[in-house]
């Protein structure tokens, strides 16, 4: 069965970008494809929204950006995770896991005598 795609939670895109770049430097289009492929059709991300987010992260010093020649010989803007970006990613991932496990616990809990 198919669900309609979910709107993206605020700030989620940033984590996804950091996570993507955690694998290594990459340009905007590649990041966009990777996010689409890993999230499948579950998350609805407008491709254009990626670029302001990238620039914001660059402004915060979490990413470095520079124009480089790619393997195909074309010039592309390549983003790299900075040390600060790496720290941020770690913090976000652990916060996210705690959030999800807390939510999951709550949503899957069975009623006990306390609530009646």
């Amino acid at each position: 069965m198919t669900h309609p795609p979910m709107p993206l939670l605020k700030g989620t895109l940033d984590v996804l970008i950091l996570k993507t770049l955690g694998w290594g430097p990459s340009h905007g289009y590649a990041i966009s494809r990777w996010i689409q492929q890993t999230t499948g059709d579950e998350l609805h991300i407008e491709e254009g929204a990626l670029y302001p987010a990238l620039r914001r992260l660059e402004g915060k010093g979490l990413l470095d950006a520079s124009w480089k020649t790619t393997a195909t010989g074309r010039e592309a803007k390549v983003y790299t995770l900075t040390a600060a970006g790496r720290r941020q990613l770690k913090a976000e991932v652990s916060a996210w896991s705690r959030y999800v496990s807390a939510m999951t616990r709550a949503l899957e809990a069975r009623p006990t005598g306390a609530i009646a």
Binding site: Y29, G48, E58, G59
Partner: protein
């Protein structure tokens, strides 16, 4: 509406301009996606449309991207700039802390310069620049009559009324007069400054009472019940600041009722405390009795010149109609500020200019010591240049040091300015600068900040450029020792010459003021001030309604004083020497032709005096006799004239026995009086002014003005010691007369205190400049000797006489000093011309003053170069050569 896009900060080396950066990145995304879709089998057209659809709104995304990046790059640039600045400042602090003596000297030199300038500027700001505290003060003007004699005078009452009614240039015109009266009915009898004002006065000044009301229209009448408004200060200090005042009766010239209180800070004219309707003082229909000072408000957009022209035009028909009883030829309108700033303008601007020169001297001095330090640091700078610091970076570093010194100098300088300002105001003659008139406001702070920047540029930038232009290879190879190149020596010589020139200018200027002042103190005033004490005897009109009561008071007082111990002679007069030229007026000398201006034969200053006044004041009687006890009210009229008046009217003949009378004074016809004596000419106004012709009547025969007389007592010992006894004797007769004693010496001194003030301040500037020049010469010659010690050592080793070597070193310095003196001399000749108005008895190009200034500099220059040059003769050739 489209918002202006923020401009693009310059990209760093691995960046593209923002527009291109955004456009390329987004276009590439679309391109990659399209290619992928084509690879999946889409047509090129469909693929591109799909790529664009999936992307979203390209336009708004690219706009957002652009904004984010522009902002980010800006803040990055800012952070970098501040980071570098912080680094420069830290480094500068380290450098300066390594040379505490240099830093302290530099900071103090600048602090003195900035402090002196700020202090003088705060006074200039308070007195000359700050707007007067009235509504639209630029519209306020004083109005005068231009007289036949080419001067200015106050207005006559009928002329004032005519001009006020007819002139269209003004939004209002008001007359006023000022007086110092005695106030009774407040806590204690006291002296109070009063103003008599016409009905328009409060409208012209645009002042409204904070309490009560202004005098009503009906109260501006001769026979109205007297009312007054009071100053805020007077209300607080003397009337207890309560509402009750409206029920109290006070007495000064009249019994009057207070009806209102004016706002805080308002005291025009002359810091008055009481304002009465001018009509209470009676009317005077004479068109030659100039009793009304006038203030007016120009219509918006008009200039004083417009007012001048209109009043001149109005005067023509008036003159035709009223001649010969008319003596105005036109009107003169001047900004009210000129009246308030008055004689301070020239000395203050002179001092401001002089303090500017002093600051320039301080900067020059610092520039040369920075250069000396720069030479010593050449090695360090060369190393930094060699490891990659750009020239701009080095200039910036050295300039940061200067700026740091300037800033410290500014901080210390502001402290010094506060002290100096207090000193200036203490030194300034009373009333010259009101204490509250020289505040440290934002304008003063702005001024000193500007000076700080300016000094940093002046003394810092030049050495910074010089120091950074050192070629690393050369400086490192030769070491610091030899970097004193010919070029930098020439720069030093220029700086030293400038310092010398500035000192010559300041010394010449202050020399001229010094010579003027000494000429003034040698003036024979025509009276003997030492041992004389004076006091104003202001008899309240209310208790001395009949002038004969006043005459009786003086008769009685003088009789008592004649026998008082310690009193050599006592007298009274309506006006003391130095107090001012008015009142003056027309006279008719018997047997002389009348002037075209009217039925009178000339002008002279009107005075009254008691029998022994001339003895008491020490004014010698040159011919005839002084007044004596037989010159009573009913005796034949007598008069004493000054030598100048006698010579003018009866040149070569005996003036004794001649007859003349005052014309049109105090209304009514005066009887003729016989000249019985001739006295020396005395200065009625400033001691440096012309000795105008004057005459004295015995007060018993001309009692009209006896309610306000000056007591003059010549004492045997210290005059001030006699004051309590004199006060007792006056109060025995009438305890309600307030008394303030002042010695004549004090009056004489304070009459020239503004000159002394200017002289002392300028002379101290000149001395500091001389000191700076001396230090500058000493520093540069010392350094040159140290630099050239190897060369000197070789010369001595080769057999040069040490004394010849010394002469060689010093000779070079003296040539530079000579050039500075010549340049400074030219500057001084040009500069001192501007101070002609402040000089007395000496010409602006006085050769003696210039000679002394030059001599002093030669002497200081010789000493300052001789001391270090002597060291060159003592150089041990072996040590000097080996030390390399």
């Amino acid at each position: 509406m489209r918002r202006r896009q923020p401009s693009d900060p310059l990209p760093l080396s691995n960046q593209k301009p923002v527009d291109e950066d955004v456009r390329l990145e987004l276009a590439q995304h679309i391109e990659f996606r399209t290619e992928e879709l084509v690879a999946e089998g889409w047509t090129a057209e469909d693929a591109r449309a799909e790529a664009l659809r999936a992307f979203g709104d390209v336009l708004s995304v690219s706009k957002e991207c652009r904004q984010i990046t522009v902002r980010a790059r800006r803040s990055l640039r800012r952070d970098e700039w501040f980071g570098a600045l912080l680094h420069d400042v830290r480094f500068a602090v380290r450098i300066l802390r390594r040379a505490p003596a240099f830093t302290l000297g530099a900071v103090m030199t600048l602090a003195l310069g900035i402090g002196a300038n700020t202090a003088i500027f705060s006074v200039v700001n308070g007195v000359l620049l700050r707007p007067l505290p009235y509504d639209h003060p630029e519209q306020l003007v004083s109005v005068f009559e231009a007289t036949e004699r080419g001067g200015l005078s106050d207005l006559t009452e009928p002329n004032f009324h005519d001009w006020r009614a007819q002139a269209h240039s003004f939004d209002g015109m008001a007359a006023y007069g000022t007086d110092i009266g005695t106030l009774l009915g407040a806590d204690i009898p006291s002296r109070v400054r009063t103003a008599a004002v016409s009905e328009d006065f409060f409208d012209v000044m645009r002042v409204r009472p904070v309490l009560g009301r202004l005098p009503a229209h009906d109260e501006f009448r001769v026979d109205a019940p007297p009312v007054a408004v009071v100053s805020y200060r007077f209300w607080q200090d003397r009337l207890g600041g309560t509402q009750e005042i409206f029920s109290r009766r006070l007495r000064s010239n009249f019994d009057f009722q207070v009806v209102g209180v004016l706002p805080q800070g308002f005291g025009f004219p002359d810091e008055s405390d009481l304002w009465f309707p001018i009509e209470l003082y009676g009317r005077n229909e004479s068109r030659t009795a100039h009793n009304y000072a006038v203030v007016a408000r120009l219509k918006a957009g008009l200039t004083p010149l417009d007012g001048d022209r209109e009043l001149d035009a109005l005067t023509v028909p008036m003159r035709e109609q009223y001649l010969p009883r008319f003596d105005a030829v036109g009107g003169t309108v001047a900004p009210l500020r000129d009246l308030e700033a008055g004689p301070l303008k020239e000395p203050l601007y002179l001092l401001l200019g002089a303090s500017g020169l002093l600051l320039l001297a301080a900067c020059t001095n610092l520039a040369s010591s920075m250069l000396v330090r720069g030479a010593a640091r050449a090695h360090e700078l060369a190393v930094r240049a060699a490891i990659g610091a750009g020239r701009g970076r080095l200039v910036r570093q050295v300039f940061t040091e200067s700026l740091l010194i300037s800033t410290l100098g500014c901080v210390v300088g502001l402290g010094i300015a506060v002290l100096l300002r207090r000193g200036l105001l203490l030194l300034a003659p009373a009333g010259m600068v009101p204490l509250e008139g020289a505040p440290f406001d934002l304008r003063v702070l702005g001024f000193s900040l500007l000076l700080t920047l300016l000094t940093a540029v002046l003394f810092g930038l030049l050495p910074a450029m010089r120091m950074s232009s050192v070629r690393p290879s050369q400086a490192m190879r030769e070491g610091a020792r030899h970097s004193g190149t010919r070029q930098s020596r020439r720069l030093w010589s220029t700086l030293v010459a400038v310092e010398v020139a500035l000192a010559v200018i300041l010394l010449s200027g202050s020399g001229l003021l010094l010579r003027s002042f000494s000429a003034i103190t040698r003036i024979d005033p025509g009276f003997r001030a030492e041992g004389v004490i004076t006091a104003l005897l202001d008899l309240p009109d209310a208790s001395y309604a009949d002038v004969h009561q006043a005459v009786a008071f003086h008769d009685r007082l003088l009789a008592v004083l004649a026998d008082a111990p310690g009193v050599v002679a006592a007298g009274v007069t309506n006006r003391l020497p130095l107090e001012g030229n008015s009142p003056g007026g027309a006279i008719q000398v018997e047997g002389k032709p009348t002037l075209p201006a009217g039925p009178f034969t000339g002008y002279a200053i009107y005075r009254t005096a008691s029998t022994r006044y001339f003895d008491a004041m020490g004014i010698p009687v040159l011919a005839g006799r002084p007044f004596n006890d037989r010159d009573r009210a009913n005796a034949p009229r007598v008069v004493i004239v000054t030598q100048g008046l006698a010579e003018r009217e009866w040149s070569g003949e005996d003036p004794i026995g001649r007859q003349f009378r005052v014309y049109g004074m105090d209304g009514g016809e005066e009887p003729y009086a016989t000249v019985i004596g001739v006295v020396a000419d005395i200065p009625h106004g400033p001691i440096t002014g012309a000795r105008r012709e004057a005459y004295w009547y015995p007060y018993s025969q001309n009692p009209a003005r006896t309610r306000s007389m000056k007591l003059v007592v010549r004492t045997a010992g210290n005059p001030a010691a006699l004051a309590p006894m004199l006060a007792q004797l006056v109060h025995d007769i009438d305890p309600q007369i307030p008394l303030e004693f002042r010695t004549m010496d004090d009056r004489l001194a304070s009459s020239i205190s503004d000159r002394r003030f200017t002289m002392v301040v300028l002379a101290s500037f000149a001395l500091v400049a001389l000191l700076l020049a001396g230090l500058g010469i000493y520093g540069v010659v010392s350094y040159t000797v140290a630099q050239r010690s190897r060369e000197i050592g070789i010369r001595i080793a080769l057999g040069a006489e040490p004394s010849r070597v010394q002469r060689l070193v010093q000779g070079g310095a003296m040539v530079v000093i000579g050039i500075g003196i010549v340049v400074g001399g030219v500057g001084a000749v040009a500069g001192t011309r501007l101070m002609r108005a402040l000089l007395y008895g000496v010409e602006p190009d006085d050769p003696m003053t210039f000679g002394l200034a030059v001599g002093l500099l030669l002497l200081v220059g010789f000493l300052a170069s001789w001391l270090p040059a002597r060291r060159s003769a003592a150089i041990d050739p072996v040590r000097a050569i080996q030390s390399e």
